[in-house]
């Protein structure tokens, strides 16, 4: 579904070349839920922007469905960290969710149905007429998720979507993502700096090194399909996996990407 083949990104700062991402190669299979973690400043967001077709890599290629990404790929939706800035404050909630659908050639009734359904899935049924800035942070991020869901993407890219919400809301939203992923069969790539979150959500966790970024480790999360905020997080397997990811990140920081 998603392939990164030797992706690298350099930035030019005052004439000097600064390598943000050295080389990253990985695959995400159709229907998988993969989390990407790494120390801060390791270029996670840069990687996501390259996969989303918002940024061109300096080296290598990203492929979605076997096709090289040279602009935002079809059937791909992105949820950004800054919900307050990715929702449009001049549109009501319904119009925000509806906007990406308007180029898909659907009838008005089909669009309205999709908007209502997506808002229902994120527990915001009937809130079409509300304004985004009337909602709490967690609710705003759910609107952004509903917008992605209504688009019916096959690939959902999420860039630290819960970094700016409080802990309880965050737990609810994590369960929401697991639930939507199960129900919709969408491929999810979830970027986070939170080790616990990556283990709780993912089937697989990719650990990145610090900049210039390479793949540090790949850890399979054998926690089973049904996860529970309390039982899963207090299980010995969870602690073991969490420790494994933590160790890799420490190693990544020390190694400095060497």
């Amino acid at each position: 579904m998603l392939e990164a083949d030797g992706i690298g990104k350099d930035y030019r700062v005052d004439g000097a070349v600064n390598t943000a991402i050295d080389s990253l190669t990985f695959q995400v299979a159709e229907g998988e839920l993969v989390c990407i973690v790494g120390p801060s400043g390791c270029g996670k967001t840069t990687l996501l922007r390259i996969c989303a077709g918002l940024l061109a890599p300096t080296r290598g290629v990203a492929k979605v469905d076997g096709r090289e990404v040279d602009g935002p790929p079809a059937d791909t939706a992105v949820v950004f960290q800054e919900y307050g800035r990715s929702l449009f404050p001049w549109m009501r909630v319904g119009a925000n969710v509806d906007l990406p659908l308007r180029r898909l050639g659907l009838t008005r009734a089909e669009r309205r149905e999709r908007v209502a359904e997506a808002l229902g899935l994120v527990d915001l049924a009937g809130r079409e007429r509300a304004w985004p800035w009337q909602l709490s942070g967690g609710m705003q991020q759910r609107v952004a998720i509903a917008r992605a869901v209504a688009y019916r993407p096959r690939l959902l890219l999420m860039d630290e979507p819960f970094a700016a919400v409080d802990a309880q809301t965050r737990a609810e939203l994590e369960d929401l993502i697991r639930d939507l992923w199960h129900r919709l069969g969408v491929t999810v790539v979830f970027i986070t700096h939170d080790i616990d979150e990556s283990v709780y959500l993912g089937q697989r966790v990719l650990v990145l090194s610090s900049s210039p970024t390479r793949m540090q480790a790949e850890i399979h999360i054998g926690l089973g399909e049904d996860r529970d905020q309390l039982a899963t997080r207090s299980s010995p397997e969870f602690a073991k996996l969490r420790g494994a990811v933590w160790k890799e990140i420490q190693a990544a920081k020390k190694g400095g990407g060497e």
Binding site: R49, A52, G53, L54, G71, P72, A74, T76, A77, V78, F80, E82, R85, S86, F88, P89, W90, M91, L99, P100, R102, R103, W131, W133, Q134, Y151
Partner: protein
């Protein structure tokens, strides 16, 4: 009660100032500063239906034409320049210069090629009004949020839909600010353009009264001009509330 208090707050100071003017000027024997009583009496006699048709309406029509053209030109060019980086770098110094030139000095120049008719007067208004709208539109487009633009791009919205649904609304608070500044400039230029080689208009009428020593009538014209300004500002506030109601309500909440 609340409405009453607001109405009171709005009218209190003008009422006090008018009252002070009335009392201070009541015994005036000065030829140039007649009593307000006389000016107001003259007002009713001077601004008859005929005069409205002959002077006020042509003025307002020129202002409307010049201001409307400025809005279209300023917003249109502003969107184009703001969205095209190389064009913006190219245009920036020129725009700063053009904006620094006081528009009234262009009146004689514009008269050379646009003559002395309505075209000249409209052109003068445009020459001053277009800058605040253009510069504010460019600034508004440039300040559009990167995450909002990324969102539009990620969903493949395309140039036109991104412009209409994201860029223009994002820039709209700045555009409206520019339009408000331009309205004030427009009223000034309307009057000034009519003081040069005109046969009608408010500015023309005021100069005529002054030249024929009809001083109370001249003052009444100035009063009318002030009232026109207030009425236009009130209309603009209605427009602002309608277009930017989301913006004002959002700011009320975060305040």
């Amino acid at each position: 009660m609340n409405l009453l208090r607001r109405a009171l707050a709005l009218t209190a100071l003008p009422a006090i100032l008018l009252g002070a003017w009335w009392i201070a000027s009541d015994g005036s024997t000065s030829f140039y500063f007649p009593p307000l009583r006389e000016i107001l009496a003259e007002f009713g006699e001077t601004w008859t239906a005929d005069r409205w048709a002959a002077d006020v309406l042509p003025s307002v029509a020129r202002l409307g034409a010049g201001y409307g053209a400025s809005c279209l030109l300023g917003v249109g060019l502003g969107l184009l320049i703001g969205r095209t980086t190389w064009l913006m770098h190219l245009a920036e110094p020129v725009l700063e210069f053009a904006r620094a030139v006081p528009p009234p000095v262009l009146v004689p120049v514009i008269m050379l090629f646009a003559g002395i008719g309505d075209t000249m007067k409209t052109a003068v208004i445009v020459s001053g009004c277009v800058w605040p709208i253009l510069l504010n539109t460019i600034a508004g487009v440039r300040s559009a949020d990167a995450v909002q633009l990324d969102t539009a791009a990620a969903f493949g919205l395309g140039r036109t839909r991104t412009l209409v649904s994201v860029v223009v609304p994002a820039a709209s608070p700045r555009i409206v600010t520019g339009m408000r500044q331009a309205l004030a400039v427009g009223v000034i230029l309307m009057v000034i353009s009519e003081m040069f080689a005109a046969q009608s208009g408010l500015g023309f009428a005021i100069v005529q009264f002054q030249r024929s020593y009809a001083i109370p009538a001249m003052w009444s014209g100035i009063l009318l001009l002030g009232c026109l300004g207030v009425a236009l500002a009130a209309l603009f506030t209605l427009f602002d509330r309608a277009v930017l109601h989301w913006y004002h309500r959002m700011r009320e909440r975060s305040a």
